[in-house]
């Protein structure tokens, strides 16, 4: 047994192992996810962060059985929900897990809301279908849920159609729909991109409250590192379809062990009056998704790249208990003079 804090060994609701997902496109095969593995613990929040296009949404869509096939393909891997692989089945005990055991907040509200149906009716329908509410009770509950997500005059708003909602109101309507059935696992894909900070704070509080009450697990995809800081217990950092660093939220923020994670942190806007610091984009662009490079995917942009990194995929190093980095710099013989990068303490 390791001496790691017991919390890191909490039972996992969801265990994703070696997930690989591809898409056929006109130009070739896009390798969107290449070997993602992570656990989501009951009652905890796992945040997934990474560059736009790195495979975050595709990863969770695979778990939800939402990858269109064709052109998509899950070529390898499993996702166990309480031990049952859900990559290849959608029904457990006669119940569709979608909307029932797993709730999902989609990145594009309009792609999941029906434009021709009143908002309240859409939420009510979930409750009617999955929870057997009567039509009237379901609508009443839908109004309550809208009010919980801070939609004012929810009763009137419930009778409106999606087009008359603002971007942030749509996002909140979708959150109301996702939590309607009090799922065991909530997948939230960029749930607050259209919310101002005060409403965002209230929504995050609401999710935390539900989490505590129902021991709900959350997968939170967000590019907003402040939201990660507030919500996450564990963090997965993805780059070009792969997981490059993984650990507790404190590991990732205070002991970053991958150069990409450091690059992300340097890109944040600074809070001082002198705006010269911060907001440094990582130079270059991510690798070609048709032909991922043979070695480390971050090689071409990494300020600390070594010759070895170009051709050899880095193995996973455990830099501290339950904190992993896929970077050759953690090889015992590699130089350790990288500013800001965390290295395992040498015995």
């Amino acid at each position: 047994m390791s001496m790691a804090p017991s919390s890191a060994n909490d039972p996992a609701v969801l265990e994703v192992t070696d997930l690989h997902v591809e898409f056929d496109t006109y130009g070739g095969i896009v390798k969107a996810v290449r070997g993602a593995s992570f656990n989501v613990r009951r009652g905890k929040t796992l945040a997934i962060v990474g560059e736009s296009g790195c495979g975050k949404s595709v990863t969770v869509q695979s778990v939800m059985g939402l990858i269109p096939m064709p052109p998509g393909r899950i070529t390898k891997g499993t996702a166990l929900l309480d031990g049952v692989d859900i990559v290849r089945r959608k029904v457990i005990d006669g119940k569709d897990i979608r909307g029932n055991r797993i709730g999902m907040i989609f990145q594009d509200p309009m792609s999941s809301l029906n434009p021709t149906m009143r908002i309240g009716d859409q939420i009510a329908e979930t409750l009617h279908v999955h929870r057997g509410y009567s039509k009237a009770d379901a609508f009443k509950r839908a109004v309550e849920l809208l009010a919980l997500t801070n939609i004012r005059e929810a009763e009137k708003r419930a009778k409106q159609y999606p087009f008359s909602f603002s971007g942030g109101m749509l996002q909140r309507a979708m959150i109301a729909m996702a939590i309607a059935c009090e799922p065991d696992l909530l997948i939230a894909d960029e749930p607050s991109t259209a919310l101002d900070v005060t409403i965002q704070a209230q929504i995050l509080d609401l999710l935390k409250e539900l989490q505590e009450r129902n021991n709900m697990a959350i997968i939170l995809i967000t590019h907003d590192l402040a939201v990660v800081a507030r919500m996450a217990d564990d963090v997965v950092v993805m780059y070009a379809g792969e997981i490059v660093e993984k650990g507790s939220v404190d590991d990732i923020f205070y002991r970053s062990a991958h150069p990409y994670t450091l690059g992300l942190r340097a890109a944040m806007p600074s809070e001082s009056r002198h705006v010269e610091s911060g907001l440094q984009p990582i130079e270059g662009s991510p690798p070609d998704t048709f032909n991922p490079p043979p070695g480390c995917s971050y090689f071409a942009r990494c300020p600390n790249a070594m010759r070895l990194c170009e051709r050899n995929p880095p193995p996973r190093f455990e830099v501290s208990p339950h904190h992993y980095s896929n970077c050759w710099l953690h090889e015992p013989g590699a130089p350790k003079d990288v500013d800001g990068l965390y290295f395992a303490e040498q015995p």
């Binding site: 496109t25 130009g27 736009s52 296009g53 975050k56 595709v58 990145q107 594009d108 509200p109 309009m110 792609s111 004012r152 005059e153 409106q160 008359s164 603002s166 971007g167 942030g168 109101m169 909140r172 960029e190 991109t193 259209a194 919310l195 101002d196 900070v197 005060t198 409403i199 965002q200 704070a201 209230q202 509080d205 590019h223 907003d224 590192l225 402040a226 939201v227 990660v228 800081a229 507030r230 996450a232 939220v249 404190d250 923020f253 205070y254 690059g263 992300l264 942190r265 890109a267 944040m268 806007p269 809070e271 009056r273 705006v275 907001l279 984009p281 990582i282 662009s285 070609d288 048709f290």
Partner: protein
Amino acid sequence: MSALIESKALTKHFKIGRNQIVHAVDDVSLAIEDKEIVGLVGESGSGKSTFGKTLLGLHRKTAGEVYFEGEQLPDIYKPADFQRYAQRIQMIFQDPYSSLNPRMTVGEIIGEGLRLRGDSEGAAIREAVAVWLERVGLERGHMSRYPHEFSGGQRQRVGVARALIMQPKFVVCDEPISALDVSVQAQIVRLLGELKDSLGLTMLFIAHDLSMVRYVSDRIAVMYMGAVVELGPADDVYFEPKHPYTQILIASNPRPDPRSERNRKSVAITGEISSPLNIGSGCRFANRCPHVMEVCRADTPGLILRDCGGSPREVACHLYEPIAGPN
């Protein structure tokens, strides 16, 4: 300095149901100078997108006027007007997905404006599209793909490229970087800065991320329930907010630091909150305001220069005494 685009008492109400009116934008006057970037922030549902769209004639105005380069924009746009203004005025839409035609490739979508303008050849358009894909951090090879084959943030950048390829004079950017990671955000922000310098691009930049808005903007306007409640130089508004709503907004800005976020108190809002469906008299923030006074419930404060200690600020709040203007 002269305003490039200016709204005068711009108002947009939506009728819903029988006698329900949503006061989405009420009496907003805002002048944006040439080469200026004005950041527009505010509560979700406060009317930011509606203001941007009404400014550009994408919604029919309920009342008010809009001037562009000194000329009044038409009340009702005819197709020819859109053609005429599309070269100089563009919009980046908040919802990238529903604003991209799913049956067109991304190359066709980005190149469409140039094609409609009719002064470039097919090959030149393709080359311009390729250049713009790269400028927003995508690949040339993405041209042949359809919108649904992109990630959320990639689609958002398609919307950015489609608007900017026209080299417009003025753009309303409605949450143009909200779906991007910080590094790509920084890249887009840098691009916008370059365009401001090289093309004299002027912008209304709608966003909710205050620390980013402050970086991008010359001035920040804060909206609450259909009205602008504070307007001033970006750093002044960010570091010394005056309107109680702005103060709450800035104080709620989360920090990317787990230790401080864990200790942050929740912000429960108390009191009866008014909504744009139900606008009472007086200040719209009165019911939530920690400094509310008698006068606030009776009399709507105007957005005018007021004495805030230090430099005066345009703020719609009775806490501050108006400064008598020259006129």
